[in-house]
């Protein structure tokens, strides 16, 4: 297969775009496309300060690399989750995030959940009895809480995450199966800022997971290859596998699924928009972040519960 731009041997073939590219042209194409998505969805400008949530994985390190190459002011945030499970998972992912930052002279903020809240994620999950024996729900809750807190405390204009199209399509698939309209209404490349919530953006939301892997491999970015030990058997992975089966026989199915959803959401074809979120949000009396509950937010409630049994 030949590169569409120069005719040399292609390294990446994107069947959904009917586009094959060599290494050189692929490494140009990915940042160009990212810049296009940032502009299209009005994510941020070159004058704004961006905080990139960096996990040490391919998507977040790839995102950080692309934003810096595009000339954005992008610092990193690494959250130490305290996941070990015999493979030193958090330690290794932090090492790789720090390595990337050091090699490119970039600023990486590090927040250690255990130091901040007394327990690592698996213990918080265990003691709070959330998540049916798996720490993923508590992990997601803590990450959202801490990313927002740090972005606001340190004065960043926007929080960028490395969610790719497979992530978005899997969430969309799950929410569609459940017709979870309140979640469907909130999904998109940009979550605007509101009282207490930093603007959140997903500049990679139109790249397949495969494309981000290819980007890191071709760019020589070392990322954590091992999967989080708790992700084994997760629903998101199962949905991604199902969608990849569909993609194999119908190239472009994942992209169409997501883009048609965004279009339908924007034009109001599917739902009558309600401002569900803002109508019921008020500040948590403990941390001040917006919550829909009457008292403490879910995160502070979880921490209190853990402290009560410790």
């Amino acid at each position: 297969m030949k590169c569409k731009k120069c005719g040399s041997k292609a390294s990446v073939n994107m069947r959904q775009h009917r586009l094959a590219l060599c290494k050189e042209h692929y490494l140009e194409w990915v940042p160009e496309q990212t810049a296009r998505f940032i502009k299209k969805y009005e994510m941020f400008t070159h004058h704004e300060k961006i905080l990139v949530a960096v996990s040490g994985g391919k998507d977040s390190l790839g995102l950080w690399d692309i934003l810096v190459r595009l000339g954005y002011q992008a610092d990193g945030l690494y959250l130490g989750l305290g996941i070990d499970e015999g493979i030193n998972y958090s330690h290794e992912s932090q090492r790789l995030a720090q390595k990337y930052a050091d090699e490119h002279q970039l600023k990486l903020h590090v927040v250690d959940i255990e130091k901040e809240y007394g327990q690592p994620i698996p213990v918080l999950a265990d003691k709070s009895h959330r998540g049916y024996g798996k720490p993923c729900a508590v992990c997601g809750l803590a990450k959202r809480h801490e990313m927002n807190r740090v972005a606001r405390d340190l004065g960043y204009d926007v929080l960028a995450t490395g969610h790719n199209l497979d992530d978005e399509a899997a969430v969309l698939f799950g929410n569609t199966l459940a017709w979870a309209s309140e979640f469907l209404l909130r999904q998109g490349p940009v979550l605007p800022s509101s009282d207490g919530l930093a603007r959140k953006v997903k500049p990679l939301c139109r790249f397949y997971e495969r494309e981000m892997t290819a980007y890191c491999l071709l760019r020589g970015i070392e990322y954590i290859y091992e999967e989080c030990p708790f992700a084994d058997g997760s629903q998101s992975i199962y949905y991604k596998e199902l969608l990849n089966q569909l993609e194999t026989t119908r190239p472009g199915a994942k992209l169409t699924f997501y883009l048609r959803f965004l279009e339908a959401r924007k034009t109001g074809e599917l739902f009558i928009e309600k401002n569900v979120e803002q109508a019921h949000l008020h500040p948590c009396p403990k941390c001040g972040q917006p919550t829909s509950t009457d008292d403490l937010c879910s995160f502070c409630r979880m921490i209190e519960k853990v402290n009560a049994v410790t």
Binding site: M1, A10, S11, V12, N13, A20, K23, G57, K58, D59, C136, A137, C139, G140, K143, T161, H163, D166, D167, A170, E209, R210, M212, T213, A214, L217, L218, Y225, E227, C228, F230, A231, S234, S236, I237, K240, E241, N244, Q245, E247, T248
Partner: protein
């Protein structure tokens, strides 16, 4: 001689002369879910695998609380 494909800690063997795509079908691995490298270079679905080739398959799916 055969072609060896390695995905994480699993090893598979297929006959030489097949394309990468056919080899992946043979071992029930979705082409969409992996990137294949041979001698450090990425190879595409139409690549013919030769006798003695060692193909490293890199899983692209990650999950959990994203």
């Amino acid at each position: 001689m055969t072609v060896k494909l390695v995905l994480r800690d699993k090893e598979y063997e297929v006959k030489p002369g097949m394309t990468l795509l056919d080899s992946l079908k043979k071992i029930n691995v979705l082409s969409e879910s992996v990137i294949a490298t041979r001698e450090g270079e990425m190879i595409l679905d139409d690549e013919i695998l030769r006798d003695g080739d060692l193909v490293k398959l890199i899983a692209v799916i990650s999950g959990g609380s994203r």
